[in-house]
């Protein structure tokens, strides 16, 4: 298992390098010009100097190399400096956002908590709902509960978040006035009252996201339970007189969770990647929203770094999912 994990880790390095190269070259084709906003009165030679200051004077391959150095060498050092108070990166060039002229990583670090709070909570809520629903609807297959569950999951699959989002806003914040329609990221939780406000503003985005994730997970759980319920070991467990609760909750659920856990692991990058649409609808100041604004503002270093981080997370959690699968299920052997 260890050798498998190492091999996969080593293999993921060229994959990630290639992905970053593809994204970089894609961005090179971008028609936008970061100097487009500079007034026409600025003389061309000054413009040229500004261009070079942004690192645009060099050929693309040199730019790519410098980006690599900044992301893989300078940024970790900055992190060490920040963590241990050392001083290794004095004056070193970091990845600079064209919008704000401040380091990209600093902005990302600022935005991550909002995304983690909202999307992460939604994920946890979805898991907590989906697994019992999946278990029960598989156990009572074709019952009313199962039919209703299937219908709701189908709806969760089919209704896009850009429809459920505004719908919830109209019902709950306009008509009923229960929850605010905009997520206030500056809100500080320091006592019970402010915690309640935080809860109120989180409910709607979490509902929208959780509906989607629950739909997927509960279907996986149901399918996996159905596979396991007809297995011989279940009959054996019943035959030796175990109570139905133990048979289902201990024997079957634990075995059925194996594929579901890997599906959950595969979904983790989406938590960090942020739900672009949901964040946009509820004005959550998170990573997804950062990506959208950077794209519209033609902020290529920001877009490049964010997309690359997403790619790293996806590759990493694919690996985690495969390893988890091997660890949880002794029948799987990667040799």
């Amino acid at each position: 298992m260890l050798s498998y994990a190492t091999r996969r880790l080593v293999l993921s390095i060229p994959t990630l390098l290639f992905i970053s190269f593809v994204i970089f070259m894609l961005l090179q084709l971008a028609p936008g010009d970061p100097m487009a906003q500079v007034p026409l009165t600025v003389p061309p030679e000054v413009k040229q100097k500004m261009r070079e200051a942004l690192g645009l004077g060099e050929p693309p391959l040199v730019q790519y190399w410098k980006w690599l150095v900044q992301v893989f060498w300078t940024e970790p050092k900055v992190f060490i400096d920040w963590a241990f108070g050392t001083n290794m990166t004095e004056g070193a060039q970091r990845v600079i956002s064209w919008q704000t002229r401040s380091p990209v990583m600093d902005i990302i670090i600022q935005r991550i908590p909002q995304t983690l709070w909202v999307v992460g909570t939604a994920y946890v809520v979805a898991i907590l709902i989906a697994i019992p629903v999946g278990v029960y609807s598989a156990y009572k297959q074709y019952s009313v509960f199962d039919q209703a569950g299937t219908f709701v999951t189908m709806i969760g699959f089919s209704i896009p978040p850009f429809f459920t989002g505004p719908l919830l806003i109209v019902v709950f914040s306009v008509q009923l006035g229960w929850f605010p329609s905009i997520y206030d990221t500056t809100h500080v939780v320091n006592d019970w009252g402010s915690f309640k406000i935080q809860l109120q503003q989180m409910i709607m985005p979490v509902m929208v996201l959780a509906l989607q994730i629950t739909a997927q997970l509960s279907r996986y759980m149901r399918a996996s339970m159905l596979d396991n319920l007809n297995q011989d070991y279940v009959r054996t467990a019943r035959a030796k007189g175990l109570s139905e609760a133990i048979v289902v909750n201990v024997h079957v659920v634990r075995n059925s969770l194996i594929p579901v856990v890997t599906v959950i692991a595969l979904g983790v990058p989406a938590i960090f990647g942020g739900a672009i649409i949901t964040e946009q609808v509820f004005k959550v100041n998170g990573i997804g929203q950062l990506l959208i604004t950077a794209l519209f503002a033609n902020d290529l270093p920001m877009v490049m770094t964010l997309t690359f981080i997403f790619a790293v997370l996806i590759v990493l959690f694919n690996l985690v999912a495969d390893i988890l699968y091997g660890l949880l299920d002794p029948r799987i052997r990667y040799d």
Binding site: L29, F163, A311, N318
Partner: protein, 329 residues
């Protein structure tokens, strides 16, 4: 000896076990089996019906209701749909604009129809293109061992790409060059269809490759090869028909994702230009005035959701109907 008195006029009866069994019912074709199983799935039947209905509506509808969806009519702006008159007699309604009109007086029914046309066209085109790429890659990887590794690594690579960010990226980046050469709407159509297809073919490729790998070792393929069938004929006549069912299931799911993705792009403002209605675009434009005119969000939203719901149910039913293990039961 007593039982030997069989009357001569009674026809000779064979022993029961040796009797030729008449086929109890006429032989059934596979298509009929599939259809019968499919019909049992109520959701799938509803899905198929609704999909046909909505496709016909957006194809034929604009011919029957030939109001220009783009024509502003400022005098008759902000009409509510006619059904609002049922509970609110003072609402500004009229048979002139059956589903109301927007802030420029553009007819909502005409917009819904032509918006649906755009959404469905993008959905179908992207789904077909994505299926084509996926099947081609899957068949090539499964059948030709030499390129299997390369193609599957490429598939893994595409699966590792962050899809929605990349879609947004590509659409924002290539909008200008493509619209310059193909016109505003044509360029956008090509761009969105291609991008959706390029980012969604991977599951199909994986499934098709797996099935091809299993089928190509079967005897009938060996038989075909031994009588000198060329490789491409084997693929076309023997392999492709056998992987048709997973392809059809992923076609249904692909159509649903393509419609949702197109609407999402329109919603985020990187889709079609604003004077070219699609369901997602109409929804996005109407969100700001949703309190006064909820129907402008509800109608396109419900249209998208129902279409996707019916396609998903269709895929579910197809999967059950095409799976011989389930079909027998």
């Amino acid at each position: 000896m007593t039982d030997n008195t069989t009357p001569a006029d009674e026809p000779l009866q064979a022993i029961e076990a040796l009797a030729d069994k008449e086929p109890s019912k006429p032989p059934r074709s596979r298509a009929k089996d599939v259809w019968d199983q499919f019909r049992k799935h109520k959701g799938a039947t509803f899905g198929l019906g609704f999909l046909i209905f909505i496709t016909l509506a957006v194809m034929i509808g604009p011919m029957l209701y030939d109001v220009d969806p783009q024509k502003p009519d400022i005098r008759n702006k902000n009409f509510r749909p006619i059904y609002v008159a049922l509970w609110d007699a003072d609402a500004k309604t009229g048979w002139l604009k059956p589903l109301g009109s927007d802030q420029l007086g553009r007819d909502q029914l005409a917009q819904m129809l032509s918006g649906g046309r755009a959404s469905m066209a993008v959905g179908w085109a992207a789904m077909i293109l994505s299926l084509f790429i996926g099947t081609a890659v899957g068949v090539a990887a499964g059948y030709f061992k030499r390129i299997d590794g390369l193609l599957m690594r490429t598939t893994d690579l595409f699966l590792a790409l962050p899809i929605l960010p990349l879609l947004l990226l590509a659409v924002t980046l290539f909008r200008q060059p493509l619209t310059a050469s193909f016109g505003l709407e044509g360029g956008m159509f090509i761009l969105i269809v291609t991008m959706i297809a390029v980012t969604s073919w991977m599951p199909t490729a994986r499934i098709v490759r797996g099935d091809i790998l299993a089928i190509k070792e079967r005897e009938f393929v060996l038989a075909a090869r031994s009588i000198g069938t060329t490789r491409f004929k084997i693929i076309r006549r023997h392999l492709l028909p056998n992987v048709l069912s997973p392809i059809m299931v992923s076609a249904a799911l692909g159509l649903a994702t393509a419609i949702i993705t197109e609407s999402a792009l329109s919603f985020l403002g990187v889709g079609f230009p604003s004077d070219f209605p699609t369901w997602g675009k109409m929804l996005a434009d109407a969100v700001v005035r949703m309190e006064e005119f909820p129907e402008r969000v509800l109608l396109p939203g419900i249209a998208i959701s129902l279409t996707v719901l019916s396609v998903n149910y269709l895929g579910d039913g197809l999967r059950d109907a095409l799976d011989p293990r389930i079909r027998g039961r």
